[in-house]
Subunit: 450 residues, 2 copies
């Protein structure tokens, strides 16, 4: 009899695992329980859907449920919520239409994703207050923008989703107030990078309120109309709250699956949890940071896809494939800026990982000095003072950032030091780069400081 | 008494060495002999100067002779031609205004650069036939375009300078015939990449003549008016010949300095030649390829700058700094295309370096499938069949190529295999990349074939 690979959650990690497993072993029974009605959707595209760069929400879906079921022969069960897992009996209980059924498995993948943090603010339950995490949120916001004559919107939280939404709402002709409780937006990108982004946001007429905690939301007739902060009250007829996400670990925890120090599900180098035959991947699970060597929680789409795929391969081939490590590479478009980061940038975290941080922040040109149309790229780089090992890079500029950050990511995966990085043979062509690539220049300047 | 560092040739390698040496040791006597009237000029910018994207040729000069002399305190002697080197006596003879003078040194750098190959064609001496290698060529071509009403131009040679000039001349409103003796343009970029470029050139109305050797140039009244090939005769009132460059090694050879297998000056890992206290760098010298481990000749600006700088550092500090290795990274803009390569792509060369080539060529999107405005990136990747080690990458597309190639370059410098490359944490953001970066996808597909 063929084995059963059971997957809880049908987004990136789950569907990657299902597809890879079924492709490598067509005899394998692959069952996916998904509580919603969508699978494998590009939540990263929601701001562009709200902005109307993308017209139909269906365009965000890479493959329809029918395609997974019919073309890939995956037993996909939509609107089915798994309510418990019994690792000892190797069974789960799933509910659909109020009916609970027990299902046994040989291998289990927990890919339950994450949810938007809902801050404990008075007024979060008012109408026209949204978090932005799944397709339904996006649909509701867009419907509202299409039908109502809104004018002032407030974004609570200056993370990358908040900034992408600022661009989207501004693109829809709305005034935007952005509230960030910390002194800078984009915390994980570092202060030097944040300053460039903040200047750009102001140039785009986004009203920035830094160091400004929102105290409560006010409304009338059940509908939001103002954001109250320590510095004043601001009108708003739409409020989007983007204050981070948390891994969905309740199901795993109840089943006795261990969580790691980040609060997400602990996994080993092949994606296995503390329970036998139980894997975890995606936004509910930890990954290992290649720079610090420690567990890390950076819930992003590529990691979910990669880890899911590797687990699918392990299950189908009865091997143990390493899922790989992360270096925390992230990239975001903020109006006309490309903003990227990779590795460790936070001093406290660097010290916690046993390094002594040294850093520089430089400006370089995106093109040869004589080639028209160039702009400035700011590169911030950190290294370990003793060993010279590269620890992290952040970059921001109007061009030439998006592709470039990956070269730093590869260097981080390989644990290279600045002596090596300085001497890499990078591409030079006047329309695309100065002779010394901005990353080489940063490495040279930082190395000179060590 | 302070030591003398003598440099023969004042372009990228020479002036980088001079500047770095003087900065690290202000007591050092740094003497540069340059036979021309310019130093440190961006020859890579000439096509854009001819195109008129850059108005003044002075804009191509990073620093003027006066700046080197006055601000950097370098004893720069323009229009001074070194006619011989005596490594035993540690002297050179330099001529200026017909007067020869002997100059002794403690350390010598030969950075005599390269010259354009002049093919042995009848008619090469006709008026309006140019090679394109130095500022004077560029000035003459531009003056001609500005003053004369030309209509048909012929480019002989489909290397990257030929293609950049095709764009420039087309931008000036001229018809362009491009003649390439080999079956494809851009030989070192590989056939798959070349095909994309060739299609694009044709879409831009450049008339391509592949597999077409030019037999002679014809003219009347001493001025060129046609290009004669085995396939026919083509009118041309301007002919640019770009059939490669050769290292200027005559001076070194006569001094008994050893050349390497490529015909350029052989150097060790610190840029030293076979003679004591004699270094060589830039377009006259070899470098070590980090993939093959063998001497290589890839005369490009960054290498010249890097090697010159390291040698300047060695001389000033009485240390031996490694100059670093190359992986043959190159990047060129061809009309709307970004075209890049790095590593080993040629099967024969790969076998010669002891590897067994396996390769794929894939198409990927430059953005998330749902994000508007994306285009196609073609990635061609080679690896060693046995070890899975990455050997080379070529890429071409309308966006997202220029920055991306450096990630492959870093991977090559570190000798990574496809198992590792597949699992790197690359940046994903819908406006800039699909979830799986095109390089990751190529690695995955190629790894599946091994």
């Amino acid at each position: 009899m063929s084995e059963t690979f059971l997957i809880v959650g049908g987004d990136a990690a789950g569907m990657s695992a299902a597809s890879k497993a079924k492709r490598d072993d067509p005899e394998l029974e692959v069952v996916v329980f998904e509580q919603g009605r969508w699978v494998s959707y590009g939540a990263c595209g929601l701001p562009y859907y709200v902005k109307d760069d993308i017209r139909d929400i269906e365009d965000l879906v890479a493959l329809t449920p029918e395609e997974f079921i019919e073309e890939r022969d995956i037993d996909l069960r939509l609107e089915s919520r798994v309510t418990s897992i019994d690792p000892e009996a190797e069974t789960v209980v799933a509910e659909r239409d109020g009916t609970a059924r027990k299902q046994s498995y040989d291998h289990l993948l927990i890919s339950t994703g994450a949810r938007a943090v809902t801050p404990p603010l008075t007024g979060m339950d008012l109408e026209r207050v949204f978090t932005l995490h799944d397709l339904e949120d996006g649909k509701q916001i867009k419907r509202l923008l299409d039908r109502e004559d809104l004018s002032r919107t407030a974004l609570v939280g200056g993370g990358y989703i908040g900034l992408e939404m600022a661009e989207a709402l501004h693109g829809r002709g709305l005034d935007v107030d952005l509230f960030e409780a910390m002194p800078h937006v984009l915390g994980p990108f570092g202060e030097e990078t944040a300053r460039v982004v903040e200047k750009h946001l102001q140039e785009q007429d986004v009203t920035l309120h830094l160091d400004t905690a929102v105290e409560r939301l006010e409304g009338s007739g059940g509908r939001v109309d103002a954001v109250v902060t320590g510095n004043g009250t601001y009108e708003a007829d739409l409020v989007l709250v983007g204050t981070g996400i948390r891994p969905n670990v309740g199901l795993a925890e109840e089943a006795g699956v261990e969580l790691g120090p980040t609060g997400a599900i602990a996994t080993d180098r092949c994606g296995r949890t503390s329970e036998p035959d139980v894997f975890a991947a995606g936004d509910c699970a930890e990954a290992t940071n290649a720079v610090s060597g420690e567990p890390d929680y950076v819930p992003l789409a590529l990691t979910a896809n990669r880890y899911g795929r590797a687990i699918g391969q392990s299950v189908a081939n009865d091997t143990l494939e390493p899922v790989g490590r992360i270096v925390g590479t992230a990239l975001v478009k903020v109006f006309e800026l490309e903003v990227a980061r990779t590795g460790l940038l936070d001093e406290e975290r660097i010290r916690g990982a046993g390094f002594e941080p040294a850093s520089v922040s430089i400006e370089a040109k995106s093109r040869a000095h004589y080639y028209p149309g160039g702009s400035t790229i700011r590169v911030t780089m950190t290294a370990d003072r003793d060993s010279g090992r590269l620890l992290g890079v952040a970059m921001v500029g109007e061009e030439g950032v998006a592709g470039r950050v990956n070269s730093a990511a590869v260097a981080l995966h390989n644990g290279v030091d600045l002596d090596a990085l300085e001497q890499y043979d990078f591409a030079y062509s006047p329309p695309f780069s100065p002779v010394w690539d901005p990353i080489l220049t940063a490495a040279k300047v930082l190395n000179g400081k060590l």
